[in-house]
């Protein structure tokens, strides 16, 4: 079966995020007040062939920890779904059944 995967990579808490801090500082000038704790990360979407959802998750976990995130400074959150899709035009992550 083919599963949709979304990997969110973000800087670990405690690691300085100058990009997030810069965006947050710009917000008041745009009229956004009361927005806090802004952190910048990246989202990586792909499909993976696997027997079932747990094994798809295992493959995605390994890929995330070996390549997609640098464990020294980053954490990865892996979402796997069966057919709901995290990609474009496939329904999006909202409402999809997610496992973490």
């Amino acid at each position: 079966m083919r599963f949709d995967v979304l990997v969110e990579v973000q800087l670990r808490s405690g690691i300085a995020d100058p990009e997030g801090a810069t965006i947050e500082r710009a917000l008041p000038a745009l009229g956004f007040t009361g927005v806090h704790s802004l952190r910048v990360g990246r989202a990586i979407r792909f499909e993976v062939d696997a027997e079932d959802e747990p094994s798809a998750g295992e493959i995605a976990d390994q890929l995330a920890s070996r390549l997609l995130a640098n464990p020294v400074i980053e954490d990865a959150i892996v979402h796997v779904s069966n057919g709901n899709g995290y990609g474009y035009g496939k329904g999006g992550a909202r409402g999809a059944a997610e496992t973490q």
Partner: protein, 253 residues
């Protein structure tokens, strides 16, 4: 014998010719080595030069770490061979786990291209061997992701084991403990953000980089001489029993 240095070229590397020129200016012999090669046989030292290996996609060094040549570089380093990563090369070595820590975006999110004043903090490495501790060097930096970071335990280890080789005198990028260059525990694998090859002639503003590169060549040459001797000793019984000529150690390698 001339010291032979492999200068590894990944797709996107752009400082390789500067490194070759600097090494040759110091009497060494440097050859470009494409990242798809699987052997560094016959070389006495390896340089991973600066640039944007594999476009710096994902993270600087994240994909270069999986280039075929990196297995050989790892084995060469494990056998004590001197390896230095400059700038992007430092990022590759950190991603490959050959050096601890990581390089983050500079504080202030600025790409910095400027001369940096450095202080030599340890002579216990292939790059600083014989260089006076406390010596000041002016060597350019040229990076966006050069802010060195690591966890407190790693930092304590680097400090207590005398593995912080170079510190910025006026920290330009937010590196923890002003770190500009570090070594592995054995001192033969080194990463630094400043570009010694860009300070190899007074004509370009500074020749201080030659201090480090000359030390590196000297270390590589002394190690090569020792390795040759070891091999000759190992081969002597075979020579006496068979009476055949022993190939030179270099050929045997």
């Amino acid at each position: 014998m001339t010291t032979r240095v492999a200068v590894v070229v990944f797709p996107g590397t752009n400082c390789e010719h500067d490194v070759v020129r600097a090494i040759e200016g110091l009497g060494g012999q440097a050859e470009l080595l494409w990242h798809a090669s699987t052997s560094i046989r016959g070389f006495d030292a390896v340089v991973l030069p600066g640039g944007f290996a594999h476009g710096d996609y994902l993270r600087p060094g994240a994909l270069a770490r999986f280039s075929p040549i990196m297995d050989s570089v790892g084995r060469f380093a494990a056998a004590g061979g001197p390896v230095v990563g400059v700038c992007n090369g430092f990022q590759v070595l950190a991603e490959a786990g050959m050096l601890p820590g990581a390089l983050q975006k500079n504080n202030g999110l600025r790409f910095i291209c400027a001369p940096a004043e450095l202080e030599v903090c340890s002579d216990r490495s292939a790059l600083t061997s014989g260089v006076e501790v406390g010596r000041k060097l002016v060597i350019p930096i040229n990076h966006f992701e050069g802010s060195y970071t690591c966890d407190p335990a790693t930092l304590a280890e680097l400090q207590s084991e005398d593995r912080v080789l170079l510190r910025y005198r006026d920290n330009p990028n937010g590196s923890i403990d002003d770190i500009a260059g570090i070594a592995n525990r054995e001192g033969n694998v080194i990463g630094l953000m400043p570009h010694p090859e860009r300070a190899s002639d007074d004509m370009v503003g500074s020749s201080d980089g030659n201090v480090l590169l000359a030390a590196f060549l000297g270390f590589a040459s002394r190690r090569a001489a020792r390795t040759d001797q070891d091999l000759v000793v190992l081969e002597m019984p075979a020579r006496s029993s068979t009476g055949t000529d022993t190939p030179t150690a270099r050929q045997a390698l």
